[in-house]
Each structure stands twice: as C-alpha cells, then as structure tokens.
C-alpha cells in the first residue's frame, strides 16, 4: 500500500521542495511533519471526505494529508454547482467535509474540518492505514456530475513509465488539480523530485506567468486554450520552460507550432487523457493527431479504434463509476470507450470531436441539446441545431442554425431577424453560462435531416 505521504517520506529528501500558491509556499518537509487541518486530521481517518475548498493550494495540502488516511476522497472542482452537492454526498456516503470556508449548513454532514493554506506542527501524524479511493467529478449528460473512482495505483500508473525525473524540476500548471489533467501534474510533481506552482483562484494569466517565471518553472502544462491565452499575454516571456505539455483538448498544429517558435528551448508534447480512461499516450513529434502505429501496439496502454472512437485499456483506467445508474466503464474486453472520434489519414489519426456532440469551448463542455432547448423557448422559433465551429482561440465555439415558424418568418424582408437574434441572445445571457451562448445565430429555411444531425455536429 502506498500513499502520497509514504512516497514523499521515502523520497530521498524533500528539502528545498515546495508547493507554491498565489499567497505563498509550503515546504514539503514542513508538510510531512505538520498539518493544515488544525487538530482535525485524526477525526478524518477512515472517513469518506468531501474536499471542497476555494483555494487550490489548500486543497492540495488536504489531499496530501488525507491520502492513505481517509477511506474515500471526493475531490470537488472549484466550479461545482452547490445544487449537486446533496446527491454527491448521498451517493458517496460522505461523512466529513474539509473546507476553507463555511459550506452550506443545510448539507447533511455533521463533521466539518477547516483547512488552511498554512501548516502547523502536528503532535502526531496519523499513520497511513488504508488505500484511499479517489472520486473525481466529471460532467454528465444531464448536467449532474458523474463520480469516477480511481486509486493511488491508477492515478500514478502513467508516471511509472516515465523516465526518472531530473532533480531540478519545477512543475507548473494552468489546470486545476481537482480535475484529472491537473491531478496528473500534481502527482508528477510530488512523486518526482521537484516543486510545484499552482495558480490562485481567479489569478490573471499574466500574473501567474510572472509567478511561474519567478519560481523558475521548468515543466509547464495546460490545455491548448490555456497556452493560446498565455501567448496572447505580454508576460509569455516570463517563463522559459524546458517542457511544454498540452492536454485536455485537441491540440492543433497552429498552437504546437506557435509554442515551438516561442519557446525554442522547450520540448513540446501533447497528451491524450480522460478522467475515465486515464492518460492514454503522449505525442512528442510536434505534430497534431497521433501516429497510427500506436493503435494495436504492445505496451502499458492498449489502444483500439472501434466504430470510429478511440478506446483504451490500461492500469491507468478508472476503477469504475460510483452510483448505480451508470453503465459499465469498460467493455467486455476491458477497454474504456473514450467517446472521442478519430479518423485515419495516411499514417496518422486525427481527432474529430466527441461522439455525443459535446462541444469543448476552451475546456468547458457544452451539451448542444441544452442550448437548443434554450433557443426553442423563443416563441418565433420552430427548431434549432447547435454545432461546433473551430476557433483558433478556444478550440471550438458554439454556433446555431435556427428555423423560424412559418408565420414568424419574414422571408426576404429580413427586418425582424435582427430583433429575433437579439432576443434569443438576451434569453441566453439571462439563463446560460457565457461559453454556451452561440457566437453566431444563422436563420435557415430547414435543418439537415435528423439522421444527419449527429454527423453534421462533427462538421
């Protein structure tokens, strides 16, 4: 049995290694013989603990302290909607909440432990006694998050295969560690031999770049959208990374080339990973897509393409979903269907988008059906179809084709269309998050046939 603390304690010295947040840093040495949980750590042993903090460094400290001690850790991303918490608490049998603020009193959890981004010396550090189950949240089709179970072994499996890290590594990530992509970097930083720089809640990207630079970040990871934003910042030159890593969205050739030009000293690689399948593979040849030779090749991860979608089987796969309503995570052969559609052109596969039609706008998921339902509330609208449009800034954007009711259609007159468009946009700005609002609304005489809709969504 191994935990983060075990691994840190066994590492050849943590001196000089730190976790840096926006407000300051914590040395790993202090963390190993201290606590960020006041006197509450002992009470959390063996419990199912919801970690719901605003500050990312505070979450990191709680996760390190509780891995190996809590029975289960439910890792709440910072943007979780409070309405989902009661269901999460019930399904995961949560019997303690660790937070840096006062969570909703109405939540039916008696034990609440305050966590802070400061470490105080602990009288005794609880010994690790169990293999903690990690539950990560990922958004589901109905908007309620799905809970995906991982173990220390599945979360750290991708790291075992990597060559031993150099000693002077400083990791930094634009991600949040409370999602799979960020959590991977968190484990890489902790199980390697370096330090780790975390971004603060709402910290502007320019400030974070300057902070990364001041800590001498050598390995920096983010989504293609994070990196595009970084390159649009006047502080992009504050960092001089040796390794630039992209994942979480489709990395296009434009961003890969731009990073190679901007950081000529850096190795630029993109990785495919999902919460359910874990890290699939890393592509380090500077090209978008991935070599077809990876499919069917022997190795730690078995890769298959079936019915156009990418499927992965490895020790990095999640253990399963929590909750009875979800289908099995893997097929009969043990493969996770990632739902990511790929197409082979020559000796390479390229990503086309999601089978479900989910649109990834700068890392945020949009379900077309939800946007269509909002458009269809307008009294003049007969039906609508929402599709992705490629964006050089956010990877994709939402666009909408709208068919008006016959009596509302001004035909060639066109005048009311401007008003309709503004009214629909107003409905959106009142009811939906900004990334779900269509960038453009096109009025069309008819939609493509229903059977073609799914294909059309991938256009």
């Amino acid at each position: 049995m191994t935990s983060i603390r075990d691994s840190l304690a066994r590492a050849s010295g943590c001196s000089g290694r730190s976790l840096w947040g926006a407000a300051g840093g914590i040395s790993l040495d202090d963390l190993l013989c201290g606590t960020a949980l006041g006197g509450g750590a002992a009470q959390l042993t063996g419990r199912s603990v919801l970690v719901a903090t605003r500050d990312q460094l505070t979450a990191a400290l709680a996760l390190i302290e509780l891995d190996g001690s809590a029975r289960r850790l439910i890792v709440c991303p910072p943007d979780i909607s409070p309405e989902h918490l009661p269901a999460i608490i019930a399904t995961a049998g949560v019997d303690a909440i660790v937070s840096d603020h006062d969570p909703d009193d109405r939540l039916a959890v008696a034990l609440r432990v305050r966590c802070s981004p400061q470490v105080t010396r602990a009288k005794s550090v609880p010994r690790d006694r169990c293999a903690t189950e990690w539950l990560l949240l990922t958004s589901g089709t109905t908007g309620a998050p799905k809970m995906v179970a991982h173990s220390f072994a599945s979360l750290t499996a991708p790291i075992g295969g990597s060559p031993r890290q150099e000693g002077d590594v400083v990791w930094g990530t634009f991600y949040d560690i409370r999602r799979y992509g960020g959590l991977q970097i968190f484990f890489r930083a902790l199980l390697g031999r370096g330090s780790f720089v975390l971004c603060g809640a709402g910290e502007p990207i320019g400030d974070f770049l300057v902070r990364l630079g001041s800590h001498g970040a050598t390995h920096v990871s983010g989504t293609p959208s994070h990196w595009r934003r970084a390159l649009m910042s006047p502080h992009a030159r504050a960092i001089a990374p040796r390794y630039v890593r992209l994942s979480g969205e489709i990395a296009d050739q434009g961003i890969l080339n731009a990073l190679r030009t901007f950081y000529p000293q850096a190795r630029v690689g993109h990785a495919f990973a999902s919460t359910e399948a874990g890290v699939g593979f890393e592509v380090n040849d500077g090209l978008e897509g991935f070599p077809a030779s990876l499919v069917g090749a022997p190795g730690d991860v078995h890769i298959r393409v079936h019915d156009g979608s990418l499927r992965l089987r490895s020790a990095r796969n999640a253990v399963g979903y929590l909750g009875e309503e979800h289908p099995a995570l893997t097929d009969d052969d043990g493969f996770v269907d990632t739902g990511d559609m790929v197409e082979r052109r020559g000796d390479r596969y390229y990503f086309l988008g999601r089978r479900s039609g989910v649109i990834n706008v700068g890392g945020l998921k949009v379900y077309p059906e939800e946007v269509e339902a909002a458009i269809n509330r307008h009294p003049a609208v007969r039906m609508s179809m929402v599709r992705p449009r490629r964006s050089p800034i956010t990877g994709a954007l939402v666009i909408a084709d709208v068919v008006l009711k016959r009596e509302s259609d001004p035909g060639t007159a066109g005048g009311p269309l401007v008003e309709y468009r503004q009214e629909i946009l107003r409905i959106f700005h009142e009811r939906l998050a900004a990334h779900k609002v269509p960038a453009t609304i096109r009025f069309v005489p008819a939609l493509e046939m229903a059977a073609a809709v799914k294909l059309a969504r991938h256009a």
Binding site: G206, R229, Q253, G254, A258, G362, P392, T394, L425
Partner: protein, 95 residues
C-alpha cells in the same frame, strides 16, 4: 468601412452583448486587458470572419497570437490585403 473600424465596432458590439466595460481602444491596449476575455475574443474572431471573409489565426499552421489590439488589427489588415490580391489574380484568370 475600414478594417480598423469594422474590428472596433465588433469589439464594442460584443462588449455590449456581454455587458462588459471596455478600456480605451488604443493600439497599445493588451487584448486580454481590454475587458474582453478569451471567449469574447474567440467570438470576435468568428464574427470578423463572417464580416471580412478572413481569419488570420486559422489560415495557416504558423500562427502568431496577437498581444495588443494593434497586433490584432494589423493581422486582419494583412490577411485582408493578401486575400484581395489572390482574388484579383483569380478573377483575371480566363474561363
């Protein structure tokens, strides 16, 4: 309408839709400090492609991401000029 005024008017339109205030729109203004976030800038690029028929950030694999409003406008001016040149060449071709 000039490229510059088309860009400025779309910037103002998107800021108004999002009920966001804008910093004074000078050439030196850092786009990410303008009041538009990256989503709004993505929408701006999509709308400008409809208005001008060019997207300087997608037309090749060698993209230079704009830092200031001046960079952004110049990218459009260059792309538009290039597109117009090619169009002239095409229209002169017989048949």
């Amino acid at each position: 309408m000039s490229i510059r005024s088309t860009v400025i008017s779309e910037v103002e339109q998107i800021a108004a839709e999002n009920k966001k205030g804008l910093a004074p729109l000078t050439d030196q203004l850092v786009l990410l400090d303008s009041g538009l976030d990256s989503l709004a800038i993505a929408i701006l690029v999509a709308r400008l492609e409809e208005a001008l028929g060019v997207d300087p950030f997608s037309e090749s694999d060698d993209v230079s991401y704009p830092v200031t409003l001046g960079d952004f406008i110049r990218s459009y001016e260059r792309s538009y000029e290039n597109a117009a040149k090619h169009h002239d060449v095409d229209s002169r071709q017989p048949g």
